[in-house]
C-alpha cells in the first residue's frame, strides 16, 4: 500500500509552484481558530459583545443610551482580546514549537509574519464590524425598551477612528509577539504596557508639569486614546504618528529582525 501513496519518483517538479501569500494567509487564519484556546478567544469576542450590550441596556442611565455608549462598551473588551490573539498567533510558533514545521514549509519567515499580521488585522476588522452591528441592535432594542429617543452619535469618520485605534492596539500585540517570542513573556509585557504604563504616565502627568506637555508626543496609549473620543485635530494626528512610529514601528522592525535570525528549536 505504501507504493501508491508516497511515490517519491513521481515527476513533481513539473507541478511544484511557489506557495502564494494568499495561501499562507488562509492557513494562518485557520491556525487562529483551530485550537481550544484560539476558539475560545474568538468566542469570547462574541460573548463579551453580547454581554456588554445587555449590560449597557440594563445599567446605563437612560440619557446615556446612545449608539456611542454601545459601540464603546462593546469595543473595549475587544481592544483587550484582539492583541492577545495577535500575540499568541506569533509566539505559539516558539512556545508551542510548531515553528519547526511552519518555517520549514515556508522558509521565508517574513512571509509567515506578514500572513499572521494580515490575518490578525482581518479578524480585528471583522470583529469591529460585528461590534458596530451588535451596538446598533443594542441601541434599537435598548431605546425601544426604555422608550427614549434613539441617538446615532457616531459618524463614519469617528467609526473609522475607532477601528484605527483598535488596530493600533492589535498591532502592538503583533509587535510584542515578534519582539519577545514567548507567550507568557509577551502577554505580561502587553498588560504592563496597556494597563500599568497609562497609570504611571497619568500619575507622572498630574505631578510633573514638564511631562504634561510632553505626554502626547511620547505616550502611545495617550495619543491613541483620542482615536476613541471622536475626531482628531492635526496635532493629535501628529501625536499618533510620532508615538506609533516610536513605540510600534521601530520595535516591530527590531522584532522582525529577531524573528528572521532567531533559531527555532
Amino acid at each position: 500500500m505504501t507504493a501508491i501513496v508516497i511515490d517519491p519518483v513521481r515527476d513533481q517538479r513539473a507541478d511544484v509552484y511557489p506557495v502564494p501569500l494568499s495561501r499562507v494567509i488562509n492557513v494562518e487564519l485557520r491556525k487562529m481558530f483551530d485550537t481550544r484556546s484560539g476558539f475560545w478567544l474568538m468566542a469570547s469576542i462574541v460573548i463579551t459583545a453580547l454581554l456588554t450590550t445587555i449590560g449597557t441596556i440594563a445599567f446605563a442611565p437612560e440619557t446615556d443610551l446612545t449608539y456611542y455608549t454601545f459601540a464603546k462598551a462593546i469595543g473595549f473588551p475587544m481592544t483587550v482580546v484582539l492583541p492577545i490573539i495577535a500575540i499568541l498567533s506569533i509566539t505559539g510558533e516558539w512556545s508551542q514549537r510548531s515553528g519547526l514545521t511552519t518555517f520549514t514549509l515556508v522558509p521565508h519567515r517574513n512571509r509567515v509574519i506578514a500572513a499572521k499580521a494580515v490575518s490578525s488585522v482581518a479578524v480585528a476588522i471583522a470583529s469591529m464590524l460585528f461590534a458596530f452591528v451588535i451596538g446598533a441592535i443594542g441601541n434599537l432594542v435598548g431605546t425601544a425598551i426604555t422608550g427614549t429617543e434613539m441617538v446615532w452619535d457616531v459618524s463614519l469618520a469617528e467609526g473609522v477612528n475607532i477601528v484605527l485605534g483598535s488596530l493600533l492596539c492589535l498591532l502592538t500585540g503583533t509587535m510584542l509577539g515578534m519582539l519577545i517570542r514567548s507567550s507568557a513573556g509577551a502577554l505580561v509585557a502587553y498588560f504592563v504596557y496597556s494597563l500599568l504604563l497609562p497609570t504611571v504616565a497619568g500619575i507622572l502627568a498630574s505631578s510633573q508639569e514638564w511631562f504634561r506637555d510632553l505626554q502626547p508626543w511620547v505616550d502611545l496609549n495617550y495619543a491613541q486614546a483620542a482615536l476613541f473620543e471622536g475626531t482628531l485635530t492635526a496635532e493629535q494626528w501628529a501625536n499618533v504618528v510620532v508615538t506609533a512610529s516610536t513605540w510600534l514601528v521601530l520595535p516591530a522592525i527590531l522584532g522582525l529582525r529577531l524573528v528572521m535570525k532567531s533559531e527555532v528549536k
Binding site: V5, V9, D34
Partner: protein
C-alpha cells in the same frame, strides 16, 4: 533510477556551526544519494540535530552550505513537496488534533484534501486517534504523525531526526519497511539516530559524527565488513595448536575466545582438519561498534569532566 532526469541528493559541504567559542558542528561534508537510506549516527549532543536544522534553513551555518539537488532549502519553491522534514515529533501545538496538523500541511502545500486520509491510513492512525489532540498522543503516535506530515507532499527527499525514537519494535520494523520501499523507489532518505542497532537495521550508508566532526563514513557493508573471526572450541588448547600449525596469528579476546584475521571459511577448515569441534564461529564487525562505543564513552567522560570542573569552580 532517474527516469525523470532528476536525482535528488542532499549535499553537505564544509558545514559548521559555532556559538561563541564552542563549535557544535565542525566542518562536515557528505552526500546522501538518491535511492539509498543514509544513516546519520552519533551519540547525543554530537551535532546531528544542529546539522539537520542547518539543512532545512532553521539555523544558519557559520560557514558552509547544505543543498538539495543543488538548491538551498530556502530557494525551494514549495519545500514541503520537495523535502519531507521531521525534526522533532513533539514540536506541535498540543491543542491541535492530529488531523488538523495534517490538514494545515496539506493546505499550505496546496494538496488535494484526500491526502490527509491517505496519510492517516499510511501511518496507521485511526479515526478516533486522528481526532484527538496531540497533547494526548504517545511519543510513538507523534512519530507516526510526524512521518505523515513529512510524506504528505510526496517529496523526493526525506530528512528525519530520530524517527525511530519512541517506536516499539513493531513500529521500528514498520518504519524500516516504509523507508526501504521509499528509497527503492528512488527516494533520498537521511535519518539520524543515536543507536547503532537502529541505523544498522535501516541504513544503507552510514555517516558517523562525534563532537561535531565526521568520524567515519561509508556504506554499511563496507563499515561492517569482517575484520577477523572469533572462534571458540570446547578444547581451546587444541584449537590454538591447530591455528599455530596452520600459521594463523591469533590473539585471545577478553572472554577467552581466539581472534584471528583470517575469514571464517578458513578458520572452520583449519579446525575441521585438526579434528577440533567448534562451538562458536563468527566474524568480528569492522570496528564500527567499538568506534561508536569509544565515541559515546568519550562524550560522556567529557561531560562528566565539565560537570566536575563546574563543581570545582
Amino acid at each position: 533510477m532517474d527516469t525523470m532526469g532528476r536525482s535528488s541528493v542532499i549535499t553537505i559541504e564544509s558545514l559548521s556551526k559555532r556559538y561563541g567559542a564552542s563549535t557544535v558542528v565542525d566542518n562536515i561534508s557528505f552526500v546522501a544519494p538518491a535511492g539509498r537510506v543514509t544513516g546519520f549516527l552519533g551519540p547525543n549532543g554530537a551535532g546531528k540535530s544542529t546539522s539537520m536544522r542547518m539543512m532545512v534553513g532553521l539555523t544558519s551555518p557559520t560557514p558552509g552550505s547544505a543543498t538539495i539537488s543543488g538548491r538551498r532549502f530556502a530557494d525551494l519553491r514549495n519545500p514541503g513537496r520537495e523535502v519531507g522534514v521531521m525534526l522533532d515529533a513533539s514540536a506541535q501545538h498540543a491543542g491541535r488534533t492530529g488531523r488538523e496538523i495534517l490538514t494545515i500541511a496539506q493546505r499550505m502545500m496546496g494538496l488535494p484534501g484526500r491526502r490527509v486520509a491517505e496519510m492517516l491510513e499510511l501511518v496507521s492512525l485511526t479515526e478516533t486517534e486522528a481526532n484527538r489532540r496531540v497533547g494526548n498522543y504517545s511519543l510513538g503516535m507523534r512519530q507516526r504523525l510526524g512521518i505523515a506530515t513529512a510524506l504528505i507532499g510526496g517529496p523526493a527527499v526525506l530528512i528525519l531526526d530520530e524517527p525511530a525514537n519512541g517506536l516499539d519494535p513493531a513500529g521500528i520494523r514498520w518504519m524500516r519497511d516504509l523507508l526501504r520501499g521509499y528509497a527503492d523507489q528512488g527516494g533520498t532518505v537521511l535519518l539520524s539516530s543515536h543507536l547503532l542497532r537502529e541505523i544498522e537495521v535501516i541504513a544503507d550508508d552510514i555517516v558517523m559524527i562525534g563532537n561535531g566532526r565526521i568520524v567515519c563514513q561509508g556504506s554499511k557493508t563496507q563499515l561492517l565488513q569482517s575484520a577477523g573471526t572469533i572462534a571458540r572450541a570446547a578444547d581451546m588448547y587444541a584449537l590454538k595448536r591447530a591455528f599455530d600449525t596452520s600459521g594463523l596469528p591469533t590473539t585471545v579476546s577478553d572472554d577467552g575466545a581466539l581472534r584471528t584475521d583470517a575469514d571464517p571459511t578458513r578458520v572452520g577448515r583449519v579446525a575441521h582438519e585438526a579434528g577440533v569441534a567448534l562451538i562458536e564461529l563468527r566474524t568480528v564487525d569492522g570496528g564500527l561498534e567499538e568506534m561508536f562505543l569509544q565515541l559515546t564513552a568519550d562524550t560522556q567522560r567529557e561531560r562528566a569532566d565539565t560537570q566536575r570542573e563546574r563543581k570545582g569552580a
